[in-house]
Amino acid sequence: MDGRASAMRPWLLLSPALATVTLLLVVPVMFILVYSFWLRTATGADTSGFHLDNWIEVLTDPFYRDILFKTLRIALVTTLFCIVLGYVPAYFIAMSRTGNKTLLLLLLILPFWISYIIRTMSWINILGASGGLNSLLLTLGIISEPMRLLYNEGSVILGLVHFLLPFMVLNVYVSLEAIDRNLLDAARSLGASDLQAFREVTLPLSMPGLAAGALLCFVLSAGTYITPVVLGGPRDAMFANLVFDAIITQLDWPLGSALSIVLLVVLGSVVLVYNRLVGVGQIAKSFG
């Protein structure tokens, strides 16, 4: 009796968390999963039941496959930019004096106080036909008519990098900050130059942060739909835009549900592979 009670104890203690996760995460996903097997008829009403039509369409139509691959490619390019552009400021902040560190970190967090959509739209004022950059170049006489800088894949990636860079910087910063400075002194005393000490000690020890940042950047950019809407052209739709179109524009919930599940499974597999290689624990650190 006592043994059973004590075996139950951890589950009882976990129950508030389990209930929350179940109610807010598992149940809605289950609804979506069930929806994906329904069928939308010509009349606009959904027919419940077990229909494979949506799944056959989603898994066989090359249109969806191509956009999925494009989405993953954009996410990958964005992540690579974030790695390169994020490491330097993270290193700079980590090596700053304590007082400056707080200020720099505050500056890094500051943009989060402004809506993501507004931050994304700010690029229109910079890159638009009558935006800051074109006006400047026109005034200087470097170009004679405005360049088309907006509404292409490049501006989508730019917007995503802008949005995701702080996540990368924070993650890398946390793992750089955790490195014992004596390790660098030890490496230097043993004959390593500054650069060699960085390559042998700092870089490998900051890898967990870099990997965690990369995972966040990849998953968040692969799941985005606002950036392509604001900064992309008609042909720059990403996978989440398909879901948006299906559900909001066409009111085809069953199809949108099937598409959602596809994205969930693809990104879920990325996280699983990452967890096998690195472990997801690192991500929690940058929010701790």
């Binding site: 004596n182 002194d185 030890a186 230097r188 005393s189 043993l190 004959g191 042998e200 000690v201």
Partner: protein, 367 residues
């Protein structure tokens, strides 16, 4: 006599951090193969000095020479020094073998020789066969041995140890002390050891440099600084010393006569009365273990000073006891081995003191 270059020489080293001077005009000369300890309380500048020798800090003024050549402008990675830290500072992502081999990668050493030398270094610290483990799989004491192996495998000109034993627990610390000294003697490597622990300094060093707020207070062999402290600070810092205010009355042959209130005249060997002149205020240093308490005042040997005293408190330590006594109006301590039973508080005793073991130092300054 051929002039031999000291292994390490600090010439007028000054280190300032902004408005704060951490090290004031420091001159030290360390002979080849010596084990020298920089001893002092935290903030005395001992670690700053070590870091300057290592090249982790550059002096504001002065010159550092290693084996005769100035290294003041030489970057750390070209100084060929072995550095051991309090927290071991092993590379957590590398195996023990790679940790120890690290320094050899930057020296012109072939792969086979690297394996040989790493193996030899691991044998020397008595940890053969841990090469393929990671630092986290070793205990603190083992990690510090590996850190030592990593520092000596490069055959450094000088071994610099920054409180290497402080992170270990008490029993292990004493083992490591013996071990470290054995390895140092076996290799004959010039070693500079930084510690705030006087017993480490006394047990291991050939020479102790006692430091206080950026100044060198005294340099000498362990016995020298213990028996013959040059200042009230050194007397207090090493061992258990009583400092009793005194006045220098005059000289009598090879003795300096000190006048101590309530006690009377105390003749101190002139060699132990560091440059004090008649009329000077001074402090009489009486080591607690040199003050013997007897219950029955028998015959007091010639030249001994015996005065009535009262035990006010007892600090029982097992093999010995520390007695707080009232000695002619001075509250002082006596550390005596325990005979049959320790004295009780309140006991009336006779305190016997051999003034030949006393030292006269300039009085403590109270800023």
């Amino acid at each position: 006599m051929t002039e031999q270059q000291p292994a390490v020489a600090l010439e007028g080293i000054v280190k300032r951090f902004g408005a704060v001077t951490a090290v004031h005009a420091m001159d030290i000369s360390i002979e080849e193969g010596a084990f020298v300890t920089l001893l002092g309380p935290s903030g005395c500048g001992k670690t700053t000095t070590l870091r300057m020798i290592a090249g982790l800090l550059s002096p504001s003024q002065g010159d550092i020479r290693i084996k005769g050549r100035s290294v003041t402008a030489t970057p750390i990675h070209k100084r060929n020094l072995g550095l051991v830290f309090q927290n071991y500072a092993l590379f957590p992502h590398k195996t023990i073998f790679d940790n120890v081999a690290f320094g050899l990668k930057y020296r012109d050493v072939g792969r086979r020789e690297i394996t040989d030398r790493v193996q030899k270094a691991l044998d020397l610290v008595q940890l053969p066969g841990v090469g393929d483990r990671h630092p986290a799989q070793l205990s603190g004491g083992q990690q510090q041995r590996i850190a030592l192996a990593r520092a000596i495998v490069i055959e450094p000109d000088v071994l610099l140890l920054d409180e290497p034993l402080s992170a270990l627990d008490a029993n292990l610390r004493e083992d490591m002390r013996v071990e470290l000294k054995r390895i140092q003697e076996q290799l004959g490597i010039t070693t500079i050891f930084v510690t705030h622990d006087q017993s480490e300094a006394l047990a291991m060093s050939d020479k102790v440099v006692v430091m206080r707020s950026g100044h060198v207070e005294q340099v000498g062999a362990p016995e020298d600084v213990y028996v013959n402290p040059a200042s009230a600070f050194v007397a207090r810092f090493l061992g258990n010393a009583n400092l009793i205010p005194a006045t220098v009355k005059g000289r009598d042959g090879d003795h300096v006569i000190a006048e101590v209130a309530g006690v009377g005249s105390v003749p101190v060997p002139a060699l132990r009365a560091a440059k004090l002149q008649p009329g000077d205020a001074a402090a009489l240093v009486v080591r607690a273990e040199r003050l013997q308490l007897v219950e029955q005042p028998g015959d007091v040997p010639e030249g001994m000073i015996a005065r009535k005293a009262t035990v006010t408190a007892v600090d029982y330590q097992g093999q010995a006891a520390r007695y707080f006594i009232d000695f002619c109006g001075h509250s002082i301590q006596a550390l005596n081995p325990i005979g049959t039973a320790p004295l009780r508080a309140g006991a009336r005793v006779t305190a016997v003191l051999d003034s030949n073991h006393c030292v006269l130092v300039p009085p403590e300054k109270h800023p």
